[in-house]
């Protein structure tokens, strides 16, 4: 447990110091949200209708943008080999690194997103359901991004491939994330519960898949 905390702390410090992937994700997120109203025009009703969907899609793409950072650097500088020889299983290492990605990238974005949604004239009454759904969903996003990142470990410019591999897995999160925030109050609770179920399933299965891919690369 202590060793996983050490890994978590290191990855978050690295994300904060290096900027890089995290900075790109945040920058991308802000750029889209600032440019979109200018592109679509000042019609407030249209913006309001589009807002939740735009926020979700931007979150998805931002997470994907930073996904290749999860394992690639540690693979290139040999840290991953040393980690594979630690007394912790590679599954737990993969899980911890995905959690670090969530804490450093996806979680801050998903907390900030609903409030940035004000730029898109987001209806104020769905700010809280949206925040909740995004916090829940973003954890699954990071966990699934870990699978993509581990599968494309030593590919230069693996970003595109990560998107193709992982986007199909993101669709259910998008669907239920949207239904939680589409404005029908009866749908909020069931949608959040299904999102929680998706997240819990990813929590169990994603690290196993990621670790299997890592082992194949380390061989």
């Amino acid at each position: 447990m202590k060793l996983l905390l050490a890994l978590l702390r290191r990855d978050i410090i690295l994300a904060a110091r290096q900027g890089g992937g995290v900075g790109t994700a945040v920058g991308f997120f802000l750029t889209v949200l600032v440019l979109l109203p200018i592109g679509i025009g000042p019609d407030q009703a249209t913006l309001q209708r589009l807002a939740p969907g735009v926020l979700w899609i931007t979150l998805l793409l931002s997470v994907l943008l930073s996904a290749d950072r999860i394992f690639q650097q540690d693979f290139e500088d040999g840290s991953l080999e040393v980690m594979a020889m630690a007394p912790a299983s590679l599954e737990l290492v993969a899980l911890t690194k995905a959690v670090a990605h969530w804490l450093s990238t996806s979680l801050p974005l998903s907390i900030a997103a609903p409030f940035l949604g004000i730029l898109l004239n987001l209806r104020t009454e769905i700010i809280w359901p949206l925040t909740l759904a995004m916090v829940l969903g973003s954890f699954a996003l990071s966990l699934l991004a870990g699978i993509g990142a581990s599968l494309t470990l030593n590919l230069r410019r693996g970003g595109l491939l990560i998107s193709i591999l992982v986007l199909p897995l993101y669709v259910p999160i998008l669907v239920f994330g949207m239904s939680a925030t589409a404005g029908n109050p009866e749908l909020i609770m069931p949608s959040l519960l299904i999102l929680a179920a998706i997240t819990l399933t990813s929590l169990v299965l994603a690290p196993i898949a990621a670790a299997a891919a890592l082992r194949a690369y380390l061989r």
Binding site: K2, L3, L5, A6, L7, R9, R10, I13, L14, R17, Q18, Q73, E76, D77, G78, S79, E81, V82, M83, A84, M85, A86, P87, L218, R219
Partner: protein
């Protein structure tokens, strides 16, 4: 403690790198791997580190911790440094200490003479100093088996001596070292394994 490899063969990318290799190494012994480029020295070290599986043969460890694999009782110093430029020397070592299961930070810094640079970002280290940072892992976390892949690369004379002293100390405490090298290590190997020419 005894590390044995019997009838080992390694295959990478469909090519047989080496086959039919045998060795056995007892506590306090140094096994030196020699051979031309591509003869499989690094591949053999990776097999010993459990980072791959032999296509044939068996690696066994007697007298180690029974619930750990040989790889989990070994240090593997590869060509890459496994250190992060964005962290300081101390932060790098503190992470590996906590991650690999505890050790003495000051002893490690002194063993590779990095104590004066302890708070220096690893990004500003020279190639030789980065190598010493990687080698500091050896002194930091006690593990009985050391797998060293060209450990002396990039080290100056005094650092070579530090490395030899480090290895000597480990052997005296009953550790095992397997080192692949082209240059003399500064101490006499107990055993030699020469891997043949690359096919």
């Amino acid at each position: 403690m005894q590390l044995t490899g019997s009838n080992l063969a390694c295959e990478r990318g469909g090519r047989t790198v080496f086959s039919n290799q045998n060795f056995s190494l007892n506590s306090g012994e140094l096994l030196q791997l020699t051979g031309p480029n591509g003869s499989g020295k690094s591949s053999l070290l990776r097999l010993l580190a459990n980072l791959g599986e032999p296509s044939h043969g068996k690696i066994s460890l007697e007298g180690g911790a029974p619930d750990l694999t040989p790889g989990q009782q070994a240090h593997y110093i590869a060509h890459s440094d496994a250190s992060k430029s964005a962290l300081t020397v101390t932060e790098n070592l503190v992470f590996w200490r906590d991650f690999l299961g505890g050790g003495d930070l000051m002893r490690a810094l002194q063993a590779v003479n990095l104590a004066p640079l302890a708070d220096y970002p690893a990004a500003l280290l020279s190639a030789g100093q980065r190598r010493r940072l990687a080698l500091a892992r050896l002194a930091l976390v006690p593990r009985p088996i050391w797998l060293l892949d060209e450990p002396g690369v990039g080290l100056d004379d005094s650092a070579q001596k530090l490395l030899a002293a480090l290895m000597n100390g480990h052997l005296r405490e009953g550790g095992l070292i397997v080192a692949a090298t082209h240059v003399p290590l500064g101490l006499d190997p107990d055993k030699n394994l020469h891997l043949g020419a690359a096919p």
